[in-house]
Symmetry: C2
Subunit: 382 residues, 2 copies
């Protein structure tokens, strides 16, 4: 019987080099020690609840493996960047520091993964990484492309993680075209993850903890970042593979509205080769949406994309099974820990149960979302 | 055979009193005349493309009826407020002016509808209105409740339209509780419609026309406004009937994430009586999403809500047919006119085709969304 690993494509790690950098800082983002001897991660100076407690689960490999074992996760894709509601990956650094730290962290992560345990008796490791680019204002495009090539050459880094700001003007900045080109040529996967949310005035003045920036702000930012579609990035780089965090945020539900608004606006109506909905079929989506209806809907939106290719004569209902092939299980660990002691984490159990109960997905589709699709996307063969 | 009217619940009118006010202004929002003799509506001083052309379709009843006839629309619910990406309903007015204008416009709209044509041989009119409240900072709650009562007493006004700002602090402001109470007691429907979008820095510096603020900003705002759920408004006023514009924006797709974020945040985890997803079953959604997959998904999210009532033992797949009963056809007229001359408007045809092709909806559900649900919601009997 062939192995069917459970693969987590959305999990975070704060490598020691990165954590040390955060500890050395006096303004957010920073890691600070409380009087009780606890460490807290503060992303914004005015963050709700004074930041969040952090500990070994943020950086210790054994802790990550323990979490994986507890939840039956065989393989994880690490990202090395801090999770936050408002602050950029390396944007708090100068171009020089960002460049050096990116290269250093990419080396660290390759080592973190390559020296880790293997999966079962296979040639696969249990840990793989997504590298980091020095995407800050003032950095040269050559330096970014150098980091792309570094990642491509590291055998345990299978892609890269990216925020939404590019080098300051967002991902629809044509200055990034050589970066997309290098990523596409190297066959690396881009994991697009939010970081800023939206202007905090949207949340009002009530204390709702982190709920609104996390539940709504993050997905809004990811959705907005897809204005790279509107700028024609996928027309210029049709083989680019972008994986969207949190099941694409609000993009699937707003995609027909987006297409209609484009069609009705003289400024952009003729810009793209295809209806906007076509491009959703080129994207990948993690399955971090906490509900089966959401996941089933995303798979429909991917499946229907071919109807919207220019000149298409495809009609009829979208087949959810086809779209599921671009969806991949994730946990968001070490975030969303349970509030009270439980054996397994509710957030993980919810996402696994959601996958298991999507109407219209058979066993083969569910196995794909749990792991098979990740192995294909990242080119991992057992 | 019983009549099955097509009812448009999302359509806009600029009553002459309102248009005159806008023409008198020198700063946005304003209606200005170009040298070519054309009138343009400018919502923001820096609006893309210098505002949008406006004409009789914005205020003339005959034009509205002509549009309705062209698309087979039997009954329309008018709203009297300007559509924009950035500016509030009456927020540009002082409390005194807003109060007086709200009362005046409510009278105008009652007359506009009551003196209009009847539908077929029935006792129904072809035009009904949604009134307006003077929701601006500095107004007294008594004055707002007075407007609620005025609307309740006007036989052709069946509800009211509301932006997302409340009296300055949003719809989760407890100061609004007497307003919700009065609305609930009068049995009026609240149509919640966006107006501000999000901070325009989210859209970057490329010229994408109105696409991003309209396609994404509007739905983001509506979604954010549902923080009224998080404040317990539906726990305190369980019979309140709120209809969300644009099929609820991103709320359906983010609702399980919202529930999970609430569950994992100590500040709010114990605040509400039910899981956040329960409250989506208390909402109504217009069917202005331009795609059948989106509509089908929204109906699933409504249908599943009962699974999330505290203590519920309901399990199993959501039945889309049940959820469809809270969805209602709309056009967004006079916005989204076709760019080139066509007989029917693409935006209207798309929404009708979407309703007609939702998988899992039968003829009875589709007839409901096209008109039957609106008759029930607004208490219109033939």
């Amino acid at each position: 019987m062939s192995l069917k690993p459970l693969v987590d494509v959305h999990t975070h790690v704060y490598l020691p080099r990165y954590a040390s950098w955060l500890r050395s800082r006096s303004v957010a983002p920073k890691i600070m020690s409380t009087e009780a001897g606890e460490e807290r991660l503060l992303i914004l100076e005015n963050e709700p609840s004074g930041g969040r407690p952090v500990g070994p689960q943020y950086w210790d490999r054994q802790e990550k493996l323990r979490f994986m074992d507890l939840h039956g996760i065989d393989i994880s894709f690490k990202r090395r960047v801090p999770y936050s509601t408002a602050n950029p990956w390396l944007d708090f650094l100068s171009a020089k520091d960002a460049y050096e730290l990116a290269l250093g962290l990419n080396n660290d992560l390759e080592e973190y993964c390559s020296t880790g345990p293997s999966y079962s008796d296979s040639v696969l490791k249990r840990l793989y990484g997504l590298g980091l680019l020095p995407l800050v204002p003032g950095v040269t495009i050559d330096a970014i492309v150098e980091a792309v090539n570094q990642i491509a050459a590291a055998s345990h880094l299978k892609g890269l993680i990216m925020g939404t700001k590019g080098i300051g003007k967002g991902l629809d900045d044509e200055a990034l075209d050589p970066v997309w080109q290098a990523i596409e040529a190297a066959g690396l996967v881009v994991f697009l993850h939010p970081h800023y949310g939206v202007d905090s005035s949207a949340w009002g003045d009530k204390d709702n903890g982190h709920v609104l920036p996390l539940a709504l702000g993050f997905p809004f930012e990811t959705t907005t970042a897809t204005r790279l579609i509107l700028s024609g990035v996928f027309d210029r780089f049709p083989s680019l593979r972008i994986l969207l965090a949190h099941s694409g945020g609000a993009l699937p539900q707003l995609s027909s509205r987006l297409a209609s608004c484009i069609d009705h606006d003289p400024v952009v109506a003729s810009r793209l080769k295809h209806d906007a909905r076509f491009y959703l079929g080129k994207l990948y989506f993690d399955a971090v949406a906490y509900g089966p209806e959401e996941l089933g809907f995303v798979s429909e939106v991917v499946s229907r994309a071919k109807r919207f290719e220019a000149g298409s004569t495809v009609q009829g209902e979208a087949d959810r099974r086809e779209g599921s092939q671009r969806m991949l299980f994730g946990t968001d660990h070490p975030f969303f820990p349970p509030l009270t002691s439980t054996e397994k984490w509710k957030s993980v159990v919810e996402n696994l149960e959601a996958i298991a109960s999507v109407p219209g997905w058979g066993t083969s589709e569910k196995d794909g979302v749990r792991g098979g699709n990740a192995l294909s996307l990242f080119g991992l063969q057992m």
